[in-house]
Amino acid sequence: MRIQLTVNGTRHDVDDVWPGESLLYALRERMGLPGAKNACEQGECGSCTVYLEGVPVCACLVPAGQAHGREVTTVEGLAPEGSGDETALHPVQQAFLEKGAVQCGFCTPGLIVSTHDLLQRNPDPSDPEIREALAGNLCRCTGYEKIMDAVRAAAEALR
């Protein structure tokens, strides 16, 4: 089947999509956007988190067909546009980088989208609120301490 969707502001027409394919597969393998990750493909790790119509979802659980006609934002679409600077980062990305919240980085794209969402809803989250909001994003490398630091720093930068 053919699906049409807008990803990070760009319209994509994707052909030959097999109905069982997830949005994650379509993004990664058909649209050249491998930023969202595939750590479990069973809705347990959050590494595939993307926005679908502004709501964070596990892209591995969304059938690609369900994204037809809709708008998707991935980690690749968060950096400020139009600055002409290739290395320009969103404050959440900057905070993860500066606070050492990235080791292998496989969890990072999902955590950045989840943090981005949290700070939109709650610009000044308490530590328990941060932990609650990110409970669906597994990280095996960092022990989460520097992720906490990064979220606090990003919140401050965005306020």
């Binding site: 493909e41 980690v75 993860f96 050492g100 990235v102 292998c104 980085g105 095996r140």
Partner: protein, 761 residues
């Protein structure tokens, strides 16, 4: 696969040794641009999948691939018959078939491969392969492995390795004797990036493999053997690695993708699902441990005895070395006049076990630390002072008779964690701070606090006479009017931060700001394994040595030019002893590059004596201590770790932020084993191959940590470094287990501790 240029604007300092520069790959990682092994794509590529055995032990009577091959979209179906070279791989023993022939020895063993135009086509075709099995009696209890009537997993018998350590009095006695039995469950590395990679057939009949791994060259040797190709035709490049923790030391899809690529003539991508990942790599050995300590009434140790059994599963992997560690390090960082240790690893029809962070020391630590607490109680000392009293010191000999010839601050570490502030008494009834969390299982009633301590140690680098080395190629040249250094090693960056360390060392040694780290591949000599906490020491040391060689060459050239000796390099200037600038780097280098390649070995280690286990088995030891504070709902058996504080001697922190990151992440993995992480295997079948049922700590489970980093330089190591990655994983779990024991008053002789162990239901 992209080369990482230096990023200016280091967080602190100039990005040299002792600074904490930003990760050179960090921008790519936070923007989603970093190319992990599962992100690779190639024009005209197809997908490979693996068909695995459903049985823990069976004879293969026949494989019918006709229907699978006839499936539209399928390019190839391969079995053991299609292996062109020797069908045998393995880290220590070549006991593992690339594809099973005749016999399968564990559930999940690869039997056949399919390549197709879509992963789903390949999976469906794989299901159409008809394998006829005759089930065989399976050996699934390692404690029966050496019984005379046990099923034989391999022809040579079920013992992989036995190590005995004997020292001091042959039949020691003591006024105070404590003993226990302990059991440790099977832990999974649970790296997030699935096993994956891309094999591209080349015009010369060879293959280029892009893969996530811990040691490119040992992979290359194994792939060559199976393909029957020389190394120059099997070229490996490190793809982005999504964590490793030991689970990428053995081959996974490497050979399989290459076999399919060479057969189809197409690039082949393979990427495991999470379920397949649980079958596709080795795990941490489950262990059964029996310990006895004898002591004087004042608590001073007289002897230590231990009997340790590791379940190696169906293939050896690195079981031999794990047994070596369990034996030589299994009594912990204490001074024992007399020692009697036996460690064994056996074959069974359970999932193969091998390397995981902490390698043989993790299992032993749960037992020796629980027993130290018993001893403390028996002689009336507290948990900290019993450890300080018996802790190893520089100048002591350990249980293999090896002299501890650098810092061994056991007493200081354990007292340091004790003296860190404790978390306040719990007063709030915020559910999020209680065991069970927002599941609303308690409002504080039945919740008891406990505190536990542990101190442990670990060898750094490869041991027992292994030829452990790393190769570094360093090149200095002018580019765009400024000096640029390129560092090329094959040492795997798996997330720990090695590429930053390589840059920091090059900047420090050559005084050049721009340092490019070449992609990791097999066009340079081996970097050795990214394991055993060894890369900063061994590859870092190789980079340092190669930089020194470059510097020597540059200064020799400068000397020839100006006729002076005793020159030094200062930034882009060559300076004479008088302080006078005699030349610039530009003048000396011109259009020429200076390039040096150095292989660096650490001090040799030696095999241990087969009878007594005595010998200088290890190159360096790393020590750490933890204190855990837990709240336990003793009625429901739920545990909340409130604080997990630690002190560790790192010798010299090359990159202090990365050191802290290693300590935090390593501590989380140790805590996971203490409380939640276990691959449940019954009758040889894995029961929980998913993140739904195999639980790793989430951000809700991890408490804040206070971390004290000590830097007692090891005079034998480059910059004085001591390996960092593993110790935290070893001491955190036993501290958590001790805290739960303290809260509940239960013996708790098995980890992970499950709610029913606490409630006794």
């Amino acid at each position: 696969m992209t080369s990482t240029d230096s990023i200016p604007g280091a967080k602190t300092g100039g990005g040299r040794v002792g600074d904490s520069p930003l990760r050179p790959d960090g921008t790519l990682k936070v923007t989603g641009q970093f190319a992990y092994s599962s992100d690779l794509w190639h024009e005209d590529m197809c997908w490979g999948v693996t068909l695995r055995s459903p049985h823990p032990h069976a004879r293969i009577l026949g494989i019918d691939t006709t229907e699978a091959l006839a499936t539209p979209g399928v390019y190839a179906v391969l079995t053991a018959d299609d292996v062109p070279g020797e069908n045998a791989v393995g880290l220590e023993h070549l006991d593992t078939p690339a594809l099973a022939r005749d016999i399968v020895r564990y559930e999940g063993e690869p039997v056949a491969l399919v390549a197709a135009d879509h992963p789903e086509t390949a999976r469906r075709a794989a299901k159409k392969i008809v394998v006829t099995y005759e089930e065989l009696p399976a050996l699934t209890d390692p404690r029966r492995a050496l019984d005379p009537d046990a099923p034989q997993v391999h022809e040579q018998g079920n013992l992989v390795r036995e190590v005995t350590i004997r020292r001091g009095d042959a039949s020691p006695t003591a006024p105070v004797v404590v003993s226990l039995e302990f059991e440790v469950g099977m832990q999974d590395q649970a790296f997030l990036g699935p096993e994956s990679g891309l094999a591209v057939p080349a015009e010369d009949g060879g293959v280029d493999l892009y893969v996530a791994t811990q040691w490119l060259h040992v992979d290359q040797a194994q792939v060559c053997r199976v393909l029957g190709l020389p190394p120059e035709k099997v070229r490996l490049t490190l793809a982005g690695v999504g964590g490793a923790f030991g689970g990428r030391e053995d081959l996974s899809m490497h050979v399989h993708a290459c076999l399919l690529a060479l057969r189809t003539g197409k690039p082949v991508k393979m990427c495991y699902s999470r379920e397949e990942s649980f079958y596709g790599h080795v795990h941490r050995h489950p262990a059964w441990l029996r310990y006895e300590f004898g002591a004087q009434p004042d608590g001073r140790l007289v002897y230590g005895k231990a009997d340790i059994l590791f379940d190696g599963g169906a293939y050896a992997s690195s079981t031999g070395a794990v047994v070596g560690n369990g034996g030589t390090l299994g009594l912990g960082p204490y001074d024992f006049p007399s020692v009697h240790v036996t460690a064994r690893g056996v074959y069974t029809n359970n999932p193969p076990c091998g390397a995981m962070r902490g390698f043989g020391c993790v299992q032993a630590a749960f037992a020796h630390e629980a027993l130290m607490d018993e001893l403390a109680e028996a002689v009336g000392l507290d948990e900290v002072e019993i450890r300080a009293l018996n802790g190893m010191r520089e100048g002591d000999r350990n249980i293999t008779g090896q002299l501890i010839d650098s810092a061994a601050p056991v007493a200081e570490l354990i007292r340091t964690v004790r003296d860190l502030p404790l978390p306040p008494e719990r007063t709030s009834t915020d559910l999020r701070e209680l065991p069970g969390g927002v599941s609303n299982t308690t409002h504080g009633e039945g919740v008891v606090r406990g505190i536990g301590y542990a101190v442990t140690y670990k060898n750094v680098g490869f041991s027992e006479g292994f030829d452990d080395y790393s190769t570094a190629r360093v090149r200095l040249e002018m580019s765009g009017g400024e000096p640029v250094v390129t560092v090329h090693t094959a040492a795997a960056e798996v997330g720990q931060g090695l590429i930053a360390v390589e840059q920091q060392i090059a900047r420090t040694e050559l005084g050049v700001e721009r340092v490019v780290v070449h992609p990791k591949d097999t066009t340079v000599g081996s970097g050795g394994s990214t394991s055993a906490s060894r890369q900063t020491y061994v590859t870092g040391g190789a980079v340092k040595a190669a930089c020194e060689a470059v510097r020597t060459t540059v200064l020799a050239r400068a000397g020839q030019r100006c006729g002076q000796t005793g020159l030094r390099l200062d930034g882009d200037k060559i300076v004479a002893t008088s302080g006078e600038v005699v030349a610039t780097l530009v003048e000396v280098l011109g259009d020429d590059a200076v390039e040096e390649t150095v292989e660096r070995r650490h001090r040799p280690t030696r095999p241990i004596d087969p009878e007594t286990g005595q010998g200088d088995a290890h190159v360096q030891y790393a020590f750490s201590a933890h204190r855990a504070v837990v709240d336990v709902d003793v009625e429901l058996g739920l545990v909340k770790v409130v604080a997990l504080d630690t002190a560790q001697d790192v010798g010299k922190a090359i990159n202090p932020d990365a050191v802290v990151g290693q300590i935090q992440g390593g501590s989380a993995q140790g805590m996971g084993l203490a409380l939640m992480e276990e691959i449940v295997v019954t009758d040889g079948h894995v029961r929980n191959p998913s993140f739904t049922d195999y639980l790793i700590p989430t951000i809700l489970d991890m408490p804040p940590m206070q971390i004290e980093v000590l830097e007692y330089a090891d005079p034998h190591a480059p910059y004085g470094v001591r390996g960092v990655g593993e110790p935290p994983t070893i001491s955190s779990g036993p501290a958590v287990a001790a805290a739960v024991r303290a809260a509940t008053g239960k013996a708790l002789r098995r980890v992970p501790i499950r709610p029913e162990h606490i409630t006794g239901t």
